[in-house]
Amino acid sequence: MSSPIAPVADQAPAAEGKPTIVYRHAGERAMLIEYGEMDLDLTLNFFVLAVDRALGERDIDGVIETAPGFRSILVSYDPAEIAATDLLEELRTVHRELPAEHDIEIPSRRIRLPVALDESTTRRAVKRYIDGIRPDAPNCEGGNNIDYIVRYNGLSDRDELWASVIGTEQWNGFVGFFPGLPFMFPMDPRYIVPYRSTTRREPGRPRERSGSAGPASRSTRWSPRAGTSSSGGRFGSSTSSTATRASATARSCCAPGTG
């Protein structure tokens, strides 16, 4: 019979320009490291990506893989090769050796992609939803949910929404839910278009085309392949794809840290 262990292996306050840190056991084969408070602070994501890179360079025996999220990173390990206590010490060393957030430089790439806004395939997807699932959906008035997004963001018109989508670079904070699905965060805080859960078309998940883009929390997410939507909010846009295909066929194209 195994003895119980505390789920929190260690923690430390913010210091030397680095965020607070909590090391959590995530079962017997992984450790979850969390940084900062539960907040969509891009600085935390920059730090996570720096940690991920440092772990890769350190090449710790027994570490199987790392999975960076927005403000946390999951480190999977083989307990037959490295004990949790030894891994924890390695992780502390990585944290100690990292520079302050302000001094971090992240290898990154800029990707520029075409986007068609309010295009026909997305309009058809909305129409299918209205016709087949919810004819009275108020967030799909006029056969789209673009105007609803404009309204709840207090924007003057669609042009201001499009200016927000195009006016800022987007930081790919993490790739999740399924391979090739990037979550991109506006780097210019003046252009944040928050997601409202009521933007989504409920019930049911509308089918969408590969390359569709829409709001998700404070991020923009893309669907790298056609299928049912994980969230029904849409800019009525299609990055065609390019984007999408980039993430589907060349994963590195959309690796976290892509700005």
């Binding site: 290898p107 990707i111 299609s238």
Partner: protein, 65 residues
């Protein structure tokens, strides 16, 4: 990542080029300087706060479906 707006017809042409393996993505290496970014944020903080205030007011006034 950044977007530039095109007409749907142009996008469909791009799709065909992707399918044919003829599309060239615009990608450039660009190391990201976190410090420079953090130093820039205060310059737009007031505008961002005003935008957020406007959005919060609109949010409260928009009926939930």
């Amino acid at each position: 990542m950044s977007f530039y707006q095109v007409e749907e017809e142009e996008l469909l042409v791009d799709w065909e080029r992707i399918e044919a393996g003829e599309y060239t993505y615009e990608i450039e290496d660009s190391p990201f300087d976190v410090g420079a970014y953090l130093d820039w944020l205060p310059e737009v903080a007031d505008e961002a706060a005003e935008r957020r205030r406007r959005a919060e007011q609109a949010w409260a006034a928009t009926p939930v479906p």
